[in-house]
């Protein structure tokens, strides 16, 4: 049986072996969550490193008010959102300068064609479309959607991670799904018709 409390105490004292044990236990789950936010393996690796460095630095302050899993997921979500905010602000700066260079009101965003490495082959194309429109969601809706649908966490654990009630998570998830459907319709207006005619 794993003793996470002992691991954290050792990490707080500078124990790297305990950190490695914690890493081996949580890295897949944390990485899976992060890559769903960043939609890039390189960026996800950078954020993953940042998460475990933060765990190492703040282990001494962890008071076991929540489970270790919840705490690590919370750090991962916050780091991912921070990373995206910084990236988007850099992108906005680029767009702002492009207005002066190109003299065009229409600015095209470079939407990455992200294929989640764990997705089934037969769902690959559809999941790419889904990950494209996930950016349309608010941060809270996106977090609730990723943690429940991609990570497969129960709503109560997601509520603990997001520090909201379970009802709020349920509501966020419903709104996220509705907004994703609207976004899909907006981005791919002719898709339903073309499928109908070809099949």
């Amino acid at each position: 049986m794993i003793d996470e409390k002992k691991w954290l105490e050792e990490i707080a004292g500078g124990g790297e072996e305990a950190l490695e044990l914690l890493y081996q236990h949580y890295s897949n789950r944390v990485y899976n969550t992060i890559i769903s936010f960043t939609k890039s393996a390189e960026d996800a690796e950078e954020v993953l490193q940042d998460v475990f460095v933060t765990v190492f630095q703040t282990a001494a302050g962890f008071r076991f008010d929540s489970s270790v899993s919840t705490w690590i997921y919370r750090i991962a979500v916050n780091k991912s959102l921070d990373f995206l905010r910084k990236k988007n602000s850099r992108k906005r700066l680029g767009i702002f300068s492009s207005i002066y260079i190109r003299d065009s009101a229409e600015v095209k965003h470079d939407i990455a064609d992200f294929a989640h490495p764990g997705v089934k082959m037969e769902n690959a194309e559809e999941s790419k479309l889904l990950f494209r429109v996930i950016d349309e969601l608010s941060e809270n809706q996106r977090t609730a959607f990723i943690l429940t649908q991609v990570e497969g966490l129960p709503q109560q654990e997601v509520a603990d991670i997001m520090n909201v009630s379970r009802k709020s998570v349920e509501s966020l998830l419903q709104r996220a799904k509705a907004n994703l459907r609207v976004a899909l319709e907006k981005y791919y207006p002719g898709r339903g018709n073309s499928n109908k005619t070809t099949s």
Partner: protein, 92 residues
């Protein structure tokens, strides 16, 4: 009509966990070793905060006690004045 949307919305079913690169932990170790020693010892910061709080509390106590003693002196003076005037009244 909504089939294509349902298919997209359900495309994450049966998703496997993505695996981080094999050398990710060694990079984390490198980052930890590169941390400045100050960041590893956070208790120093707490000591500074605690010292500032103690200093603030002490200065407040000193200020309040000096204020209270000055008002007490004033009220004593006032009562003496009242007493004198009372005596004057009775004297008349």
């Amino acid at each position: 009509m909504e089939d294509w949307k349902d298919k997209i919305m359900n495309s994450l079913e049966g998703l496997d966990k993505a695996q981080p690169p094999a050398n990710a932990f060694s990079k984390i170790q490198q980052k930890i070793h590169a941390l400045p020693p100050k960041k590893k010892q956070r208790s120093d910061n707490w000591m500074a905060v605690a010292a500032a709080i103690v200093l603030m509390v002490c200065s407040n106590i000193f200020f309040i006690s000096s204020y209270v003693s000055s008002t007490e002196t004033n009220s004593q003076l006032q009562s003496y004045t009242d007493l004198i005037s009372s005596y004057n009244i009775y004297a008349e």
